[in-house]
């Protein structure tokens, strides 16, 4: 029904936009986590579309796994963020120099 070009375009453009969001955003780490979620979303959309296009169910199973990992990752990231805010009372990315790495 829909052409292959359109769906892969949408997914890759979403991935690119979230990549830009990770690299260019310096204000708070919350938007970086949101961009990470959008990257997961675009990859999982790409997998689902490929599974439909190739008529193979394994892509959708992989998308389910990606969904699980995304949920776990975002919860742990937000928990670390809350602890960091409790210690430093700011979540600006530039000022994250506790480890002096």
């Amino acid at each position: 029904m829909f052409q292959q070009l359109n769906c892969t375009n949408i997914s890759s453009l979403l991935f690119l936009v979230s990549l830009l969001g990770i690299f260019l955003n310096q204000k708070n780490i919350l938007v970086m986590l949101m961009s990470l979620e959008m990257m997961f979303l675009s990859i999982s959309f790409n997998l689902i579309f490929s599974s439909i296009r190739l008529d193979d169910i394994i892509g959708q199973i992989f998308s389910l796994l990606i969904l699980t990992v995304a949920a776990a990752e975002s919860s742990i990231g937000l928990a670390i963020l809350v602890i960091y805010y409790r210690i430093r009372s700011t979540i600006t990315v530039e000022l994250m120099n506790l480890m002096k790495g």
Binding site: I10, S12, F15, M38, I48, I61, A71, I76, L78
Partner: protein, 204 residues
Amino acid sequence: MNIDIFLFYLFSIFALISSLMVIGLTNAVHSVLFLILVFCNVAGLLLLLGPEFFSFMLIIVYVGAIAVLFLFVVMMLNIKLKSTNISFSSLWPIGILTFVILLSQFFSSFYELDLVKFQGKELFFISWANENSNLTNIKVIGKVLYTHFNLLFLICGLILLVAMIGVIVLTMHQRVDVKKQQIALQLARTAPNVIKFIILRRKR
């Protein structure tokens, strides 16, 4: 114009615009709300493509769990919007370079792969007898996931368990300087220990 194509373009354009708004806005609450819009639009795209189980799963998990979690954290943190003007000129070139490389890959896919020839106008013949006996999406996923990929399914559950315990352990902290209700002390109080009678006027 075909209604499917129209809806497809509508959802995709809205998803891209909302994703740009997510990374562009300064207020984090607005970013979270546009993130919800992105998720809903991609769920609509999936609903157009066919896998309805994944579409609703996406809404349930992403909008119902992850976006609400983000909203919770944004409301809890009380972020002060102070603009620190430390120059991030060190990260601009990496971001722009990666973006340009991937974008050139994306545009070269137009020419190299010759994907445009897929856009033929074929008619679709739907045999409703076959459609009626088709398996639905959720049935197929269940049949594959619980048999061939049962180990992956168990590992998924384990990942979620570890994440849950980790988050609880990370965010739980007991304060010592706060007066709390102590049930054991309250229950241990008895009347003879507490109440005492004072004789005020003693007559001589």
